[in-house]
């Protein structure tokens, strides 16, 4: 198979097309996803190819869309649900967190809800606070939902496939700012990503940077820069899966470096970094030379006119955190 050069949006599209093609039970649904191919054009041509009962335009009703998908999944379809922007996912909170994830347990294992909820997220698109939201951490507490965050075209393609094939509900947090900004060669072989496996993007020995989503690339840039400058040696780990997160890769790295920085776009308080910090300090207490630092957005909404520049975490702030970690003294 010859690889094809795809951007993230095309990779997501290819992943969906692959699953629609190979599994007749897969359907895609959401606002504007059909005829027009979605407001980001992620599903361009899919309705034309698979028909309007497999690629479905819905009413403007996030709760209704997810709730109907829950019923579809109970009956045996595998719905992929697009939420137009993650800022609008909250209307479906109850159906995601306490219906889709709970039918299996609450029915004593009789029923299940395999479905994928696509949540286009993250800033850098001059979107303001609804259109640039990082929503993933809301879906961790009380368990039950798998959470995947691709940040490369390859991951986007393979995680989509993995999410569709998973027997349980999966939240796929899509990196909007990378949709068109990042391309790479992908072999479209239908191989799914492994859920629960992190990627060590850069190896290093001084500081572990745990991250996920588009900001991973800023972290990598900082690592490269410092490496080139003979600065601190940074190990960058892209978690890729938040639930379940790859504890082995994390601990292996932390025990080596003794310094941890968590970087995410979402706000600080009870962002996913809180769970990472809590777990790491418990499991690797004796290895830590410095406190675990968090580089995140603050607990305020994403600002429209200056948010991309000053609210969204960036390479500069990652660099400062590295410096702080390296200089820390009791």
């Amino acid at each position: 198979m010859t690889p094809r050069k795809l951007n993230v949006m095309e990779a997501i599209s290819a992943g969906m097309a692959h699953e629609l093609e190979t599994d007749p039970n897969v359907v895609l649904m959401g606002e504007d996803v059909g005829q027009a191919g979605g407001i980001f054009r992620t599903s361009t041509g899919l309705q034309q190819r698979f028909g309007s009962s497999r690629v479905i335009d819905t009413p403007l009703d996030e709760k209704g869309i997810v709730a109907h998908a829950v019923g579809m999944a109970l009956y045996g379809l595998k719905p992929i649900v697009e939420i137009q922007f993650s800022g609008f996912i909250h209307d479906a909170f109850e159906h995601i967190m306490f219906c889709a994830t709970r039918y299996r347990w609450a029915s004593g294992g009789q029923y299940s809800c395999p479905m994928v909820i696509r949540s286009p997220s993250y800033g850098g698109i001059k979107g303001g606070f609804w259109h640039s939201q990082s929503c993933e951490a809301f879906f961790v507490h009380h368990g039950g939902l798998k959470i995947l965050v691709p940040s490369t075209p390859e991951d986007a393609y393979r995680m989509m496939i993995a999410a569709v094939r998973d027997p349980d509900p999966v939240l796929l947090v899509e990196p909007v700012p990378l949709y068109r900004a990042m391309s790479s060669e992908i072999v479209l072989d239908g191989e799914p990503a492994e859920i629960g496996r992190a990627e060590v993007v850069r190896e290093g020995s001084d500081v572990t940077v745990l991250t996920y989503g588009p900001i991973r690339h800023q972290a990598t840039a900082v690592a490269d820069e410092l490496a080139a400058d003979g600065g601190a040696s940074i190990e960058v780990i892209d978690l890729r899966t938040l639930i379940p997160f790859d504890i082995d890769s994390i601990l292996r790295s932390v025990k080596k470096t003794g310094r941890v920085i968590v970087v995410h776009e979402a706000p600080l308080s009870l962002g996913f970094g809180a769970e990472l910090a809590a777990v790491i300090q418990e499991k690797a207490f004796g290895y830590l030379h410095t406190p675990i630092l968090r580089v995140t957005a603050p607990d305020v909404p994403y600002h429209f006119s200056i948010g991309d520049e000053y609210y969204r975490p960036n390479a500069h702030r990652i660099r400062l955190a590295v410096q702080r970690a390296m200089e820390f003294e009791f």
């Binding site: 009413p59 019923g71 009956y75 306490f98």
Partner: protein
Amino acid sequence: MAEENPLAGKSRAKPKTAGKGAGGKHCPLGNARALGIRQVIDAEGRLTGDLAEPDLDRDALTRLYEMMVLVRAIDDRGWILQRSGRVEFWIPHKGLEAVHTAATVAFEQKDWIFLGYRHPGTLLLRGAPLVQLFAQFFGRRDEPFKGRRLPTLMGDRRLNIVPMTTQVGSYIPHACGAAWAAKIKGDDTRFLTFFGDGSTSRGEFHSAMNFAGVYKPPIVFICENNGWAVTTPTSVQTASATFSQKGDAYAVRNMRVDGNDPLAVYAATKEARDLAPKEGPTLIEAVTYRLGFHTSSDNPDLYREPEEVEEWAQWDPLDRMRKHLELKGHWDDKLEEGLWARCKSDIDDAVKQAEAMPLPDPASMFDDTFEEMTWMIEEQKAHLLDDLESQP
């Protein structure tokens, strides 16, 4: 001539013995025709209604009645078990026997039903043994949900019955989505769901009706209007004159029936089921009444007048069905006595058996979170079981 047929009655004639039921202050069933509440039989079991008598033979009719009585007997017992502390919680269904039993009979076994919490008859009609129900009430390990859920929240995949989600109304779009899925897959599976008057206020009712109008899935929505949502009367729930007419806002076919008339419920549901593949959804409002408490934690004295209950008791669906069977010559006092005795002894056996069943094991709490347990859950399980080992 109609007058000679004891089942016919004079349409619109005031039934002789119906008392307040004839069109009382609280109960609308005596005034059904004017209110667009479709009926087959009146308070005396006579065929005076504006709906045609459905095609049910002696056997079918008596089986339906027998189930209604068993369902009543279960409620009687559940209540006693709760009051004596043997069952933690009870959700009564007294007075509501007609809607779910008759509607269930109008559907086929292969059809899917999304249940509420006052519908034990649906499981029994599809073949669940009585002991399974009581095991659920007692929260025992070997009931379908492994003891995880409140008493009377029932379901069973083998019987195509999906259990409710506990948040009232939230499963209406799940039912609708499942029906839509069957349509997409080209299966001839049809769907039925029950929910209360209160549930229509939630956004999920709106979502389901709206999607149902647009995608025309094969589903019958039954709104069991029993007058109350806990302590809240329908007049606070909505200003709409009926619940059925809410279907119009979504171009969903709709109908209002006497929910204490099992034949009317059967007729309306059967027709709606028949139409479902071609015409899509129907919303049926079944006008009925909760004679009992909302739950075992409730105190109806705080919010409703005893006269209301008395008036509705005149329209007890069991009485009406029994009278109808008697008029048809299918029933008598001896059969009645025998039936009740049988119900009670069957329940005695089921209670004894179910109560003796083991409780679930703590380790089982962790099952069924995912198809395959994540390391996170596994670690938490190990940790908890470790802690529990030394727990006194």
